[in-house]
Point group: C2
Chain length 314, copies 2
Amino acid sequence: MAHFADRLAEAVEAKRNPCVVGLDPRLESIPTPLHGSVLGQEPLTCEGAAALLRAFSREVIDIVAPKVPAVKVQAAFFERFGPLGYQAYVDTVAHAKQAGLLVIADVKRGDIGSTAEAYAQGHLGGAAVDGNELFDLGADAVTVNPYFGLDGIEPFIGHAVRRERGLFVLVRTTNPSAGRVQNLTCKGVPFFMRMGALVHEWGKAHVGRGGYSCVGAVVAGTQPIDAEKLRRLMPQAWFLVPGFGAQGAGPAEVARAFDARGRGALVSASRSIIFAHACSPYDRQFGEERWRDAVAAATDAMIAEIRTVTAMAP
Amino acid sequence: MAHFADRLAEAVEAKRNPCVVGLDPRLESIPTPLHGSVLGQEPLTCEGAAALLRAFSREVIDIVAPKVPAVKVQAAFFERFGPLGYQAYVDTVAHAKQAGLLVIADVKRGDIGSTAEAYAQGHLGGAAVDGNELFDLGADAVTVNPYFGLDGIEPFIGHAVRRERGLFVLVRTTNPSAGRVQNLTCKGVPFFMRMGALVHEWGKAHVGRGGYSCVGAVVAGTQPIDAEKLRRLMPQAWFLVPGFGAQGAGPAEVARAFDARGRGALVSASRSIIFAHACSPYDRQFGEERWRDAVAAATDAMIAEIRTVTAMAP
């Protein structure tokens, strides 16, 4: 192991792209052919739902693992189905690790003190009692909500530093109504810029050899002007940039999240990759039966597009 | 079933107090005698940890169920131990429901669109696919983080309205560093007051017979001046008031969260109740062996103190 920010940089260089595939397996969107092969004719139960989430995530991971440096696993779609769904989440993280990918647990947790520490242990590994490690999910990073301020972030930072993991703190999100909270002007500066300044401050003591911190930020690709301002404000933070593809950001927009060398950002796409069989042009080209080919083609297309803004040759 | 705000009001009147016991079962703090009776001489495993969390929570619930209207279950301390811990969380919620308590799932989730809907389904019940309900945790309410703005709250509100459940949106939290985020002045008003105004706006279309909304707010008991301002700003919101006891708020402080009739707020205490055996004066009075008596005594003492500010006779 090594510092998370350095491991991330190495994985990006090794794959020659900073693309992240978001595993957001909304059950209703999983291709019908897979339903049949996993569940047969049985009516859908909670066990079946968990099996389907697990099988789908596994197949997507196997397709994208040779192509991208990391996946982002969205806990909500697993947690929805209770403990069995939660087991599928754990299995998905484990499978992605075995496939050589870095794993970002997209859990957006936030709490304080020993509660935040419990969340950090639950997702970054190291749930230990009296020095005895009982559970080790082993994701490489988590997404964290900063509403509590430093008290809510510090336990995650401490745990990440001890275990060479990372975190991405929500700063500027992609959703339309985010502006009514994150763009409120606070003493002449938008709230999200205040948060960015805090994240920079929290992360600057935890910088790896490559100049980046293990404390990163979630910065919407759909808000390029904001992303550019945040890039200047937080030169040492890895940005996790959602919003590419289905949510509307293209290469020109996400380009603003990178530093002058075309580094320091991960671009994430979920639905437009994992459910590419239902998105243009792959719906016509492949259809639902060939959903695996659609995942591969959409991943390749995204990588090619993002390479144009990072000046990375294949 | 009925509107969540009305069910809550009825439960408070029935028990003649608005106290909530917070089940935050930090494993290391669970009384040693229970370790022995649950685990015997076996070394602690993940299964054992889950069994201990389940047994402890169950016993606390049975002690407090005749006394208080609701419990708040902190998911982090269960989630820490993975799927087995998560199963213990589900069992704890179910046991509290069977014991006749209202259950607040303290999960502080926050995300957007179908992701937020998945979290709502996972904790407020109704994880349905094609009309077929697969998993039903059945908590009565959840705590929610508002950093995304309305897009992150709306799916929870929609789900709560459909299923007659509630939510408590984080507005002003108890932790010391919260001020650096929540007290930032935005156009002359502290950020938390902006959030309070939004929560009021989001909840006003969903008011029950008793005049309260199913969209409530988390308002720190440790910040009485802020609580008073928020009470005026949000006359229709149930407040969930943490910070009583171990975190330092007394009856005079939490009193500010109530309306003029001494209603509209729930006061929550966690460690000072469930780990009362380690807190003064119960540590000397009962000690660890009689931890159950300490839980009962601490709950009774809290109820008596809170009754003085709500003018509720026993």
